[in-house]
């Protein structure tokens, strides 16, 4: 079975959601925004490493791609590819280099203990950005969007077990970074 992170395809429930959205039904539109906004945000975050910029990109890209779907300009099967292309374009147009905001570079150092803690946290965050796409999505969707593993099925991986594996691998990488940075 396919997943968004693995081969840019969606599973039947998500495709059905997008098809119903394209038919102009209201509830699927709300669901799709709820479902895909965190995903697009995570994809943007992976490329920009900037929370506010990612929010801006996710907003613009999802709005645009859903409007195209509603207008019948793209098919639901092409949703992921269109989103990816629009995201690329949006980030390129913005011309913003990868920022260090998310790794806490802006935080002030109050003490030696604080500095050490901050350094370890940075190491963890840097490790997260270095994760493969499925693990990165799993971690961001878990901690930023508050999703459980079952909600990530179809996005991060095809089955819940695979999602849990991706989450565990992400955590393992974070622990390794912590031990390395400590």
């Amino acid at each position: 079975m396919p997943s968004l992170a693995q081969d840019q395809t969606l599973q039947p429930p998500d495709l059905a959601l997008l098809s119903d959205l394209a038919r102009g039904l209201k509830q699927p539109l709300f669901l799709a925004v709820e479902r895909f906004y965190p995903v697009v945000f995570s994809l943007a975050l992976r490329r920009t490493r900037d929370f506010s910029a990612s929010e801006r990109h996710a907003d613009a890209v999802l709005r645009s791609v859903l409007a195209k779907l509603l207008a019948g300009q793209i098919l639901s099967e092409h949703f992921v590819r269109a989103t990816d292309a629009l995201l690329d374009n949006s980030i390129r147009q913005d011309g913003q280099p990868a920022a260090a905001e998310s790794s806490g570079a802006g935080e002030s150092l109050h003490s030696l203990h604080g500095a050490k803690k901050l350094q370890r946290r940075r190491a963890v965050v840097d490790a997260v950005y270095a994760l493969p796409l499925d693990q990165f999505l799993a971690i961001v969707l878990r901690y930023h969007a508050g999703w459980q593993a079952d909600a990530m099925a179809g996005i991060v991986a095809d089955t819940i077990d695979s999602v849990q594996d991706a989450l565990a691998a992400g955590h393992r990488a974070a622990v390794s970074a912590l031990q390395g940075g400590g």
């Binding site: 997260v128 989450l167 955590h171 974070a174 970074a177």
Partner: protein, 296 residues
């Protein structure tokens, strides 16, 4: 619990996939085992770091709802534009199932109806008579006097078939659901009903004028000797106005019907789709409890 078991289960438990109480078992083991305690502390610190780093600026559900509302309003109009009480009506669906049959039947009925009765029938005799009068008239409106109205009879005669063909084209485009329909009629469905309301008043005026014209012109023509006779030799302006009123009534009436029938049929189709949607909605997309929380 063995240390190896602890090491195997820790990643899964920390990822939230362990059984209830398993975390307590891990904690119990870590209490009595220094290396495992250290490992557990590392994992907990990593989790806290991730929470701290990634929970900043969490996605606001209100923002997502607002985005969906905006997108919907941009595409299909808002409750204010529609003037309805229950929020904006759903947009036009793609033809499917029984709705498609109803829709196609209504479209076919409209075409057949127009082909049978759309060309005037017996009521067209008066028009024909007036057109002949107009054709051979002299004066400001007639071709004999080379006035401005020389084109009017031909235009009105052709206008009927042009309008019929245009309706036919629109019908086909509408049934085909191409984007061309949106370009031709940039009106959302509920606004189509409003358009019908707007059309109603001028249509009523045109219809009343036409009835008055018929009541006045027919007896006068009969009395004054018919085509080209009597007072109507010098009354070409009135004839021209009557023809225009008649044309306005005919075309306006068909436009009115067109808008109302299509809007009604589309609403029925939407109602059908909406009912189907509500029935199977709860378990259609949801794979988890997270996704079961739907906005109303």
């Amino acid at each position: 619990m063995e240390c190896s078991q602890f090491q195997n289960r820790l990643p899964l438990v920390m990822s939230g996939s362990g059984a209830d109480g398993e975390r307590n078992l891990l904690a119990d083991h870590a209490t009595g085992c220094a290396p495992c305690r250290r490992t557990l502390q590392d994992w907990e610190e990593a989790q806290r770091s991730l929470e701290t780093a990634l929970s900043a600026g969490r996605i606001d559900p209100r923002k997502m709802r607002s985005m969906a509302e905006t997108l919907y309003a941009e595409r299909f109009g808002t409750a204010i534009e529609v003037g309805g009480r229950g929020g904006p009506l759903p947009g036009p669906p793609i033809l499917a199932g029984r709705g498609a049959l109803v829709l196609a039947g209504a479209g076919l009925g409209l075409v057949i109806g127009y082909m049978m009765w759309g060309q005037g029938g017996g009521g067209g005799q008066l028009n024909q008579q007036l057109m002949w009068t107009q054709m051979y008239a002299t004066g400001a409106w007639g071709p004999g006097g080379r006035g401005a109205g020389w084109w009017l009879p031909g235009f009105l005669t052709m206008g009927g078939s042009v309008a019929r063909d245009l309706f036919g084209l629109c019908l086909v485009i509408w049934l085909c659901r191409t984007r061309l329909w949106g370009l031709l009629f940039p009106l959302a469905l509920p606004r189509g009903i409003q358009l019908g309301r707007l059309l109603a008043l001028p249509l009523l005026v045109a219809g009343l004028l036409r009835i008055l014209g018929i009541a006045f012109v027919v007896p006068s023509l009969a009395t004054m000797g018919g085509m080209g006779g009597g007072m109507w030799n010098g009354g070409m302006d009135f004839t021209g106005v009557f023809l225009l009123v008649d044309a306005a009534w005919r075309y306006g009436f068909w436009l009115f019907l067109f808008v109302l029938i299509f809007s009604t049929v589309e609403n029925l189709t939407l109602l059908h789709l909406k009912t189907t949607e509500s029935a199977g909605y709860s378990n259609k997309y949801t794979q988890s409890s997270d996704r079961a929380a739907l906005p109303s």
